[in-house]
Homo-oligomer: 516 residues x 2
């Protein structure tokens, strides 16, 4: 069924149609902030020393077909997923046990865990915790005759990005489908386009509302004398995805009327402080451009600190610890970040042993828990003898799997028949650094055309990944949830032969969807 | 009085304040479409062969002070100016007399006049005429003790640009003045900022409403069989100011629901046709990306064809003639474009001889006509002996003047003491190619800081030029006006030592105003 949908999509473009679409998309993206800063490989620093240039984010020319049943399911499950990851984060002991095994294989996780332990020792000054999540899926379509099902690729608990740009791609494709008004001719005609537009995408509204909920729940200033309050976006140096972040900032400023500042993670210690005399530990921000004015930070929103490469020295870990021990609501806390590790996903998916999933969702209808479990792709650890090792070492079964490093932000995946050979080439003691995951089989006939950030237009077979956004605010002490929402989505489409690579590097494109 | 306002403005910036403002403006401009395509001197074609890069339009960091009395006067007079230029355009005989004198000195005007004559011979197929105008002024402040007065620099009847970007600069400065919400600290404090924001800028709404009024007045399709209708933006190749145009296109599409297409002036003859069998001469547009669909053009909006450099060959003149003889409402017609020549401004300003201004505004209160006349800077032709020659040849009086070439789109101005010497260096027979204009004296203490499109930040003394937009739709046969509106404005601020140069080249910046 799915293959029929994909095999004659998208409609072919003649040169004039392609030129029109590319030009229109290029201009629309630029006019409407669907932009990234250009990569240094495209625009060398010496050409643009002040960093004023921008270019379109990589986007597909067409929205991609997506099964309505899977989209609805992903949306339906998001608030349950939010709740699941809040519950995991509340169970510090459980996380601790998992981390114990990883500490000697993963410096990064070890470092994060140490930050948590040191703040725990002093006592956390803030029990509220904010999650801005994105759950990423592919549609699993093992054969032409089976209905597609939803399989989770990963669950992001930190710096869940592209909400801002994704909303814009949805608008772009929606506009093209209705352009010009009353006489849609921007695209060649195709049955999928008849009275069809992408579903509403409220990513900006939803993510901003989550941040605003935390800000408003912070309560009155804890500083003496009281200070005005703000949200702090903590960001990377040389960030190219600035306009994705600014979409949220604009919404918070315009709609929620909340002061928001952006601060480089490398400058946290320069411009924020926690008065040692104040046991509430308010995080005070002094904007460098107005040092006489002070704000109290209600919420720190990290668009950094998610990968080992974000920590250049001990000072960066010190900065992370400094914020963690403050009264600011963290989005996310170190514990919540750790809950998003690959290994947690694998432990939840384990079919042997205790049913962690049901325990974490103890108050939830078992039918819904089962639907969550349905989204797990089978995955195994290789630390001890068992099913994982059997599947990985046999070429025939390995063909159906991918080997992923446990290490966060780490290297490349090993695919299919290369797995047994690879494992045999490394000492068995290192096997615990890897997770074996059954390959998700997306529709094999899916195709699209992408406009890269450097203006190149590529077309061919693609793999699409749907992300659904959710936000949750809970009390880490009581487990009480005060805000739990789902809203907005991201479609990312990669050339089929590309297995890795983020959108911003140009190997994959932002997309939207047409439901079928 | 004015000098007091300007002498301590803008407030000084320390390095952190400057960096914050520049970064914020750079990002805001990019996120919100306040952009231009970079000049080839900044980004060479080989770096960006597909033309995807964009950069901020050149903008001032601060809005500029502007006298409220002058702003109000400029707005008040705009609909009268609209009416004046419609009346001039209706008087083909009067324009013809003026053009007669210019035909041997100005190829361009001669060519335009020939287009008109050839269409006149066949008979115009459309009597409705649309003007999208911008009247440009400086504040004349001859001494510190006199109140500033409004003096017209020029009146644009074709391709009056920057309405789209100007609205955005107004939003930018307004946002900065109120940023963050509730605690304005983006700018250092200054008395002029207290509860003050730039006046409303409806340039996009006003200009689009003018185009929509023409579109709606066109009436039913004249084609057989009837076709859907559209507006055509006729644009230049290698246009860098695309996003200014797209702001109007977006408004027409989103708010007025009118199909709008952009067509290169060099491709008019490839993609439009006038069926020879149809005496109504509808202009039929076949979009190259959908050649089976045809639209009938109600309105052609020129963002080209204003300068000699827009006509590369006879084919371009043929294209202009082709549109002129069609039933499409032209914005503007050739006659209306000619009405905007410098020489018309000079003839209107002549104090000796017939009172052309009063004749054209015969139905208007003489007090208002006097207020229009007040905006004229004294200007003189040098074709015959008289006051102009006397003033130009005497170094003492020349000091107070500028010599401007009659030729449209022509070379540089000659200033002050250089005038007598220059005139004596050329044959007297050529003097008629020049107009002598009394120098307008803007506030001498005005200063600002500008962020150029290449990221350079410049500060120093500046000269500001206010443009006010107006739109008018009239019947060229009856003189009846069906739409006459004023709305929106443009502030352009140039470094004081720069006498020429458009905004897009980076020599001058888009600005907004704070009234005092």
């Amino acid at each position: 069924m799915a293959d029929q949908i994909y095999s004659n999509y998208p409609p072919p473009l003649n040169p004039a149609q392609k030129e029109f679409l590319v030009t229109t998309i290029k201009d629309w993206a630029t006019q409407n902030g669907l932009l990234v800063r250009p990569a240094p490989t495209f625009v060398p620093k010496e050409t643009d020393p002040s960093g004023v240039l921008a270019t379109n984010a990589p986007v597909t020319l067409f929205p991609s077909p997506f099964p309505k049943s899977c989209f609805d399911e992903a949306k339906y499950l998001q608030t349950v997923y939010n709740q699941l990851y809040a519950a995991i984060t509340c169970n510090e002991e459980w996380i601790g046990k998992i981390m114990e095994d990883l500490i000697d294989v993963d410096d990064f996780i070890s470092h994060l865990w140490k930050v948590h332990l040191s703040v725990k020792e002093e006592g956390y000054a803030q029990t509220l915790s904010l999650g801005l999540y994105r759950s990423d899926y592919m549609t699993h379509t093992p054969s032409a005759s089976t209905a597609p099902s939803l399989k989770q690729v990963e669950f992001n608990t930190i710096s869940s990005s592209f909400g801002g740009l994704s909303s814009l791609v949805t608008s772009l494709h929606t506009n093209l489908l209705n352009s010009p008004p009353g006489h849609s001719i921007a695209y060649p005609s195709h049955p999928l386009f008849n009275s069809n537009v992408p579903p509403e995408n409220t990513a900006v509204e939803t993510l901003s509302a989550g941040l605003a909920a935390a800000h408003n729940s912070y309560g009155p200033s804890k500083a003496k004398p009281a200070l005005p309050t703000c949200i702090l976006f903590v960001v990377q140096k040389n960030e190219r995805n600035t306009f994705d972040q600014l979409a949220l900032l604009k919404q918070l400023t315009k709609v929620h009327k909340i002061p928001v500042f952006r601060l480089l993670c490398s400058e946290i210690l320069d411009h924020t402080s926690i008065p040692s005399s104040n046991p509430s530990r308010p995080l005070i921000y002094s904007p460098p451009h107005s040092p006489d004015t002070q704000f109290e930070v209600t919420t720190t929103y990290y668009r950094c600190f998610y990968a080992p490469s974000d920590y250049h020295s001990e000072r960066d870990w010190e900065a992370r610890t400094h914020v963690e021990r403050s009264a600011a609501i963290k989005c996310p806390t170190v514990l919540n970040q750790l809950a998003g590790c690959k290994v947690v996903q694998q432990v939840l998916a384990e079919t042997a042993g205790p049913d962690h999933l049901s325990s974490f969702l103890s108050g939830t209808d078992s039918a819904i828990v089962a639907r969550i479990r349905e989204t797990f792709a089978p995955q195994y650890d290789l630390s001890s003898t068992g099913r994982g090792r059997d599947l990985a070492l046999n070429v025939e079964t390995a063909m159906n799997h991918v080997l992923k490093p446990q290490r966060e932000g780490g290297g490349n995946n090993i695919y299919k028949e290369a797995i047994p050979e690879f494992l045999r080439s490394i000492p068995e003691s290192e096997w615990k650094r890897w997770i074996l995951m059954e390959l998700i089989k997306p529709p094999s006939e899916a195709k699209n055309v992408a406009l890269r950030s450097d203006g190149e237009v590529l077309s061919g077979h693609v793999i699409g990944e749907l992300g659904v956004y959710g936000t949750i605010l809970w009390d880490q002490a009581s487990g009480k949830i005060s805000h739990n929402e789902q809203g907005g989505w991201l479609m990312r489409t990669k050339g089929r032969d590309v297995n890795e690579g983020g959108v911003a590097t140009g190997f994959s494109s932002l997309d939207s969807i047409l439901l079928y």
